[in-house]
């Protein structure tokens, strides 16, 4: 699977397919000089060149350019109630689990909590709520005694500061995740890239 076909209109607001023969002819008139190329051939070259440029530029932006640096993390021994309280306090939906030397051991997301609360394979919040409303009680007794290390997803998918953002986007889609910890050459946590970080970087001014 490649970076996503740049010729696919779905990947950009407007793209190479929108250039018309008349656009090209008008541009050729602006050039004044005789140009030894047909408008159709120019359009074809333009589309290929656009794709090359897109691939080149998207590779240039790396994790280190878009990541959030002050990452909230927990340790394996952090009780789940503290993990949940931390996530709520910082309004985040995922948190990396690190050891004493700041290496990434795993990652906890809302999905890991939901999995702990329900017997189902991939529960959603609404499925859980529905179960709750149907049965007498739904209190996560076992979870109260657990720690971060018990429910975290491990090993966590990580990227490096030099990983191109286009590759991170592909990882998000393939693994169906929404965030990824960024580690340095020694495997230590240095940042986090979320889907929101990528959107924010691609469309600055949109918040």
């Amino acid at each position: 699977m490649g970076d996503g076909d740049p010729m696919n209109k779905d990947t950009c607001a407007f793209g190479p397919m929108d250039i018309s023969d008349d656009d090209v002819i008008d541009a050729m008139r602006q050039m004044k000089a005789y140009l030894d190329i047909t408008p159709g051939d120019f359009k074809e070259i333009y589309r290929y060149a656009y794709g090359h440029a897109l691939r080149r530029i998207t590779k240039a932006v790396k994790a280190g350019d878009v990541m959030t640096r002050d990452v909230v993390a927990v340790t394996e021994d952090t009780p789940l109630k503290d993990v949940a309280r931390t996530m709520a306090a910082h309004s985040i939906s995922g948190v990396p689990v690190v050891d004493e030397r700041n290496h990434v051991l795993g990652i906890i997301s809302e999905r890991d909590f939901l999995a702990g609360l329900s017997a189902k394979e991939t529960p959603s919040f609404m499925a859980l709520l529905a179960d709750c409303l149907e049965s007498a009680g739904c209190v996560a007794i076992t979870m109260r005694k657990q720690k971060a290390g018990d429910i975290m997803t491990t090993p966590a998918v990580t990227v490096e500061t030099t990983t191109p953002v286009s590759q991170i986007a592909r990882i998000f889609t393939e693994k169906k995740i929404n965030r990824v910890p960024v580690v340095d050459g020694n495997g230590k946590l240095v940042g986090m890239v979320s889907r929101g970080d990528i959107v924010h970087h691609s469309f600055p001014g949109v918040d």
Binding site: D36, I37, T38, G40
Partner: protein, 178 residues
């Protein structure tokens, strides 16, 4: 200094074509020139007519070797040769006793007319020049030069181009008629 700066160039040469393109260019040019050359001699030998002039070698480069260029399209090939032949013969008739003048006016005017009619075809400049400096046999043709060899030769080479250039699945010709 700006005038000299402009001569430094601004970009790179385009990439070379592949082997398939080179082979088909060779085949097309061979058959196209063979056609007009065979008609010239032996078919027309002994008559006052000729079917081959130097400018057809230049046309072969375009219509067999650069088939997507606007300069190689049928309108340019036929229009360029016919209009340039008219200009060339006319300039010889008007300025013929000053050959250098006839030659210069012929080529320059042929270019201007081809530009104005969107029939720019580099070999047209040669067709106009040959009408002036081509010698007695050419001069004796008068305006017949426009039809034979200029127009007829161009059309014969065009027919070969239409056939040969479309055989390979990666080549097509022409890009446009009008």
């Amino acid at each position: 200094m700006d005038f000299l700066n402009k001569m430094k160039g601004t970009t790179k040469s385009p990439p070379a074509v592949g082997l398939i393109e080179i082979l088909w260019s060779w085949v097309g040019a061979f058959l196209g020139i063979a056609a007009v050359a065979i008609i010239n001699d032996p078919v027309l030998k002994g008559t006052d007519l000729i079917m081959i002039i130097g400018s057809f070698g230049a046309s072969a480069v375009l219509i067999y070797g650069a088939i997507r260029s606007p300069l190689a399209q049928p309108r340019n090939l036929v229009g360029g040769h016919v209009l340039s032949a008219i200009i060339g013969v006319s300039c010889f008739k008007i300025f013929g006793d000053q050959l250098w003048l006839a030659a210069a006016v012929a080529v320059a005017t042929a270019i201007a007319l081809m530009h104005a009619t969107k029939t720019l075809h580099p070999p047209g400049g040669a067709t106009a020049l040959i009408a002036v400096i081509g010698g007695d046999q050419i001069h004796d043709l008068g305006y017949l030069y426009v039809l034979v060899p200029a127009g007829a030769g161009a059309i014969i080479m065009l027919i070969i181009a239409l056939i040969i250039n479309n055989i390979s699945k990666n080549r097509r010709y022409p890009e446009f008629w009008i």
